[in-house]
């Protein structure tokens, strides 16, 4: 069994009570919803970049402000924006990530009053021209923040922000690697908590805690959790601790992932270019392993298969948020490719939180049994 580390407990507690953690951040907080908004620019402005995640509350006001066929994650986001949950934010930055979030951006623009709002017109492809275009847009974002908050953002600050984000990315990737190599053995729920916090917590604090955790667990010489079946979890916006706990209950253990805020968010680093920091940032974000909303399926699937093989995964759990068109279309392709590689996959569909634990549990138990036998 894993020896509980202090850092692990801290991660767990933060995840359990996010509002409490956010209250303690002593910097102005800027919110965003997906991992294409560059945290570096926000950080360089002396602000805290916060990736907003769906909360556990039942949707109320948001549901009456948008059609019912928007995905529940986006409705939850709208709810949080409209009901005051996010009133501590100094502003919100959007990009066209998907058709639902694009609508949330528009609706919020009309309701945001005087608070800071910015929409990044995001390219979908990576070419010299698109990188230049986004680079200009990122400069506009930096200028907008500077003007609005009367803050100076210069090259030096951007370079420092890049260094901090890169360091965090490298640390996270090392963590993934240690898990793959079973130097660290950790439950799916803990793995999720740690990873999801990388884009929520302060980057420096996060990196330090993660380094601390890795040292401690490396030293304890963990053994694999007995009989656990190694799986990968794929999807886009699956942010329910409960879901990962269910996976653990079935005797499966996530050892790698393909979630929007998971491995895909860390794999590329910002590499210096002669055109300056915004250009370097632009290049990184347009070259990272794409989400299904970016239309380049094969890169994502190739990467997932590579990770599965490296981690010795026995199966993939794909979680689909109902009404998420991009994932709904991508899943059949992904399933075929994984099956062709001999990797079993199960597709589950639901909302932003788990409403029917029993149903998921039964299906996941059956899946665990199936892939367990194939061991």
């Amino acid at each position: 069994m894993i020896k509980e580390s202090e850092a692990l407990n801290e991660f767990r507690n933060i995840r359990k009570d996010l509002p409490e953690y956010l209250k303690k951040i002593n910097k102005p907080v800027m919110g965003y919803f997906e991992t294409y908004v560059p945290e570096e620019i926000i950080y360089a402005a002396g602000m805290h970049p916060l990736r907003i995640s769906p909360n556990d509350r039942q949707i109320a006001i948001g549901g009456s402000k948008i059609e019912s066929f928007a995905c529940s994650v986006s409705i939850n986001f709208l709810d949080q924006l409209l009901n005051g949950t996010l009133s501590f934010l100094k502003g919100v930055i959007f990009s066209r990530y998907c058709d639902s979030l694009r609508a949330i951006a528009d609706i919020w623009q009309e309701n945001a009053g005087d608070s800071f709002y910015h929409f990044i017109p995001y390219p979908t492809i990576s070419t010299k021209e698109s990188i230049n275009f986004l680079s200009d847009e990122l400069k506009k974002l930096a200028d907008h923040i500077s003007d609005y908050f009367n803050i100076k953002i210069d090259e030096e600050m951007l370079t420092e922000a890049i260094r901090i984000s890169n360091k965090k990315r490298l640390t996270v990737l090392k963590f993934y690697d240690l898990i793959k190599k079973e130097k660290i053995v950790i439950s799916s729920a803990d793995f999720f908590s740690i990873i999801s916090l990388a884009t929520i917590m302060d980057s420096i604090e996060y990196t330090q805690k993660l380094e601390q955790l890795m040292k401690q667990t490396e030293l304890t010489g963990n053994r694999p959790i007995e009989n656990s079946i190694k799986v990968a979890i794929s999807g886009i916006m699956l942010e329910s601790t409960q879901f990962f706990e269910i996976v653990d209950k079935t005797g499966m253990r996530m050892v790698t992932d393909d979630l929007m805020f998971g491995s895909r968010a860390f794999k590329e680093l910002v590499i210096k270019t002669k055109e300056g920091p915004c250009h370097a940032i632009s290049k990184r974000y347009l070259n990272k392993i794409p989400c299904s909303t970016k239309g380049n399926i094969d890169l994502r699937i190739d990467e997932l298969i590579k990770d599965c093989k490296e981690a010795g995964v026995k199966g993939v759990i794909f979680y689909l948020v109902t009404f998420c068109d991009s994932e709904e279309c991508e899943f059949p392709i992904l399933r075929k490719r994984l099956q062709a590689e001999g990797i079993p996959v199960i597709g589950l569909e639901g909302g932003y939180r788990v409403n029917s634990e029993g149903q998921f549990l039964t299906r996941l138990e059956a899946f665990a049994e199936q892939i367990g036998e194939e061991l």
Binding site: I66, E110, F323, S326, R335
Partner: protein
């Protein structure tokens, strides 16, 4: 009295699909494209542009969308995704449809200027056809494409031309493009003038009329037959006014329709017309109007086409959508707005509650009805009619 142009439209549509087949037989390149792509470039390069949305709308109008969607659903595609995507993809993989097996594409060309869903649609088509694919990248704009955005759209247009040249062997010739654009411009002018005639009281056209006649605007811009058709449509619409012959003579309510029509039930408009409710304007056909697809300067047609690709109707933000709504409500003397919350089109629909709220603040009544432009399942016609009638009654009070 029936518009002769409606009879001509049938000829146009069957001619278009005949051309598709002939192109396949003769080896003329065929590009599968989506609506945001400027067809003028394709006609100028002698490449046949096959508009998948048009094909989808045809399946919808024939009430066959569900039949083909089921093939897509059996392949794992969720019922929640766009019904254009499902029905056309289902027809493609089943090799069935009104045209039989669809001719193979030489190339695929998509643009991100209408929705994110289209990217998934094209991935599915790409996997099924193995044709090489070009994505015309078009980030969103607030109101229109200017500055670095326009520069980017121009470079995307040029990149697309290079791709087409490389993949089809066809050469691009600017003087040919200018000729096509000249015809396209003339047709756009006629389209705008025809739309303007709807400001007349009563309107010379019903909602269904203009939706039906969109086809050449989408798929044939720049061709001879397109221009002839639009001339005919304009002439006949004008004649109706001159002769005082109106489709809804006792026009009690002048409504606006927001979003795609319900292709499988265009008769809904006739049904409502019987009650004196006419849809005198809509936002969908305006997407081919001068605010979103106006005439293009002949001295630099690439720049002009790039400008409209970048500022397409679904590529702008809510402030422009709202200002267009207000403008046409005013110009067409609209007394009620029907928002069709189209389950298939999140890109179009998901801001309608907000738009309706903003209209309410200006004292403009509206109603939101839910349906799907192609999928007939879960369609509740009675409920929709009742809700639109309630909107009409509100106005009477």
């Amino acid at each position: 009295m029936r518009l002769q142009a409606t009879g001509n439209l049938k000829k146009l549509i069957s001619g278009y699909y005949d051309d598709l087949k002939k192109s396949a037989e003769s080896g003329r390149p065929i590009a599968w494209v989506n609506v945001g792509i400027p067809c003028e470039i394709f006609y100028a390069m002698d490449i046949f542009p096959f508009y998948t949305e048009n094909y989808g709308a045809m399946l919808g109008a024939r009430k066959e969308a569900v039949k083909y969607s089921k093939f897509a659903e059996a392949d794992g595609i969720s019922k929640h995704t766009c019904s254009y995507l499902r029905s056309t993809y289902g027809s493609l993989i089943s090799q069935e449809g009104p045209l039989g097996k669809l001719p193979e594409p030489t190339v695929l060309v998509e643009t991100s200027n209408s929705c994110v869903t289209v990217l998934s649609w094209w991935r599915l088509i790409e996997k099924a056809t193995h044709a090489s694919c070009f994505l015309f990248d078009s980030p969103m704009v607030e109101y229109e494409s200017t500055g670095s955005h326009l520069t980017y759209q121009i470079s995307e247009t040029k990149r697309m031309i290079r791709f087409l040249e490389a993949e089809t062997g066809k050469k691009f010739d600017l003087s040919r493009l200018k000729k096509v654009v000249r015809i396209s411009n003339e047709g756009k002018r006629l389209w705008r003038q025809t739309m303007e005639l709807r400001t007349n009281h009563p309107s010379p056209l019903t909602g269904a009329d203009l939706f039906t006649h969109m086809f050449p605007m989408v798929a044939l811009r720049g061709t001879k037959q397109y221009l002839e058709h639009l001339k005919m449509l304009y002439r006949e619409t004008k004649e109706r006014i001159d002769l005082g012959e109106y489709p809804v003579a006792k026009e009690k309510h002048r409504f606006l329709w927001d979003n795609l029509p319900i292709w499988h039930d265009l008769r809904l408009f006739d049904e409502l017309a019987k009650k004196g409710i006419n849809f005198v304007t809509d936002t969908y056909t305006q997407a081919w109007g001068d605010k979103f697809m106006g005439e293009v300067a002949l001295d630099n047609p690439i720049k002009g086409l790039a400008y409209y690709t970048g500022g397409g109707f679904l590529n702008v933000h809510i402030k422009k959508r709202f200002s267009v709504l207000l403008d046409i409500i005013d110009r067409y003397d609209v007394d009620g707005v029907v928002f069709h919350a189209d389950r298939s089109c999140k890109s179009y629909s998901l801001i309608q509650v907000q738009l309706a709220d903003q209209l309410r603040q200006k004292g403009i009544p509206s109603v939101i009805i839910e349906a799907d432009h192609n999928d007939t399942r879960d369609y509740n016609r009675e409920n929709i009619i009742a809700r639109i009638e309630t909107l009409a009654e509100m106005g009477e009070k």
